[in-house]
């Protein structure tokens, strides 16, 4: 299912906020139906953006794979689980979470690249906390777990 394509060039770390915003707005403008957007969407968008951010860094700094690979895998698992919860009703969700043309490119310096990832994790954790606190009962544990995972990544990266 999940299209795990490596971003080709100039891939972008800071896309998180932009992607989240796109999805957030999509609830108001894009939706053809009256049903409210799933609370899964913004969490999924952040997880997809994190996967893309790790991919971008790993394309540039392949030697960081041992350190970053397992963290990327965690995000990949979040994407899979969230997509599963979302069901097949909204196939366009993945498209809206990808492009973010104004984000910065991966720095040449490996530590600077890792610092950017840490920053992206922090923002995503913050978003995840908000998502958990406002979530319907059935999503609270999953969103809380994902937010906590992002917090553990900050610990590993800093």
């Amino acid at each position: 299912m999940g299209s795990e394509t490596l971003p080709r060039r100039g891939v972008l770390i800071g896309g998180l906020a932009a992607a989240a915003a796109v999805v957030g707005l999509a609830g108001c403008t894009d939706s053809e139906r009256a049903a409210p957007p799933s609370p899964v969407l913004p969490v999924l968008a952040d997880s997809r953006s994190l996967v893309a951010a790790y991919d971008a860094v790993l394309v540039r700094h392949a030697d960081l794979d041992g350190r970053l690979g397992p963290l990327r895998t965690d995000h990949r698992r979040h994407v899979d689980e969230l997509a599963k919860r979302l069901g097949s009703a909204t196939p366009s969700a993945s498209g809206s979470a990808s492009a973010s043309p104004s984000a910065p490119a991966v720095p040449d310096d490996a530590e600077a690249a890792v610092a950017l990832l840490a920053d992206a994790e922090k923002k995503a954790q913050h978003n995840g906390v908000a998502a958990c606190l406002s979530a319907p009962k059935e999503y609270a544990t999953l969103f809380g777990s994902i937010a906590a995972c992002r917090a553990t990544h900050v610990t590993v990266l800093t």
Binding site: T141, G144, S145, A151, T155
Partner: protein
């Protein structure tokens, strides 16, 4: 006792067990690791005390600590102490994580803070213990 109170009682039991566990494992660590164990112990005592207050406020009777807890592993040295520390944090995170859906507003926020704190400590212990990967995808999840 309603669902939320049951969750808080379960969290209290987990915190009691964590405090007990750290008392057992702490002496097997040294230096900075022992300091970290002491800080973790204090964090669990704080949560235990806060839960006791909260349950009392809700007119429930907080479960007391058991005199002893069955530990999943025997603690004899640094390695087994670190292993137990990981287990304590992961279990406590899971009990708090399971409570999230039954709690609301400030109660859910406190539970999520607990999930996060425990999960971060679990990862620190896993790294010190040389466990790879250091992180798990769903800390505090089922």
């Amino acid at each position: 006792m309603n669902r939320a109170q049951q969750r808080l009682q379960a969290a209290l039991a987990a915190e009691h067990a964590a405090v007990y566990g750290y008392d057992v494992l702490g002496p097997h660590l040294a230096g900075d690791e022992q300091r970290q164990a002491r800080a973790a112990d204090e964090a669990h005592r704080d949560r235990r005390d806060a839960l006791t207050v909260e349950l009392t406020r809700l007119r429930a009777t907080p479960s007391p600590a058991a005199p002893a807890y069955a530990l999943p592993t025997k603690v004899t040295d640094r390695d087994s102490a670190l292993k137990l520390a990981v287990t304590l944090e992961e279990r406590t995170a899971a009990v708090w994580g399971a409570a999230l859906g039954d709690l609301r507003a400030a109660g859910r926020k406190r539970a999520l803070d607990a999930v996060t704190d425990c999960s971060v400590r679990a990862v620190r212990w896993r790294r010190l213990a040389g466990v790879a990967p250091a992180t798990v995808a769903f800390p505090g999840g089922s």
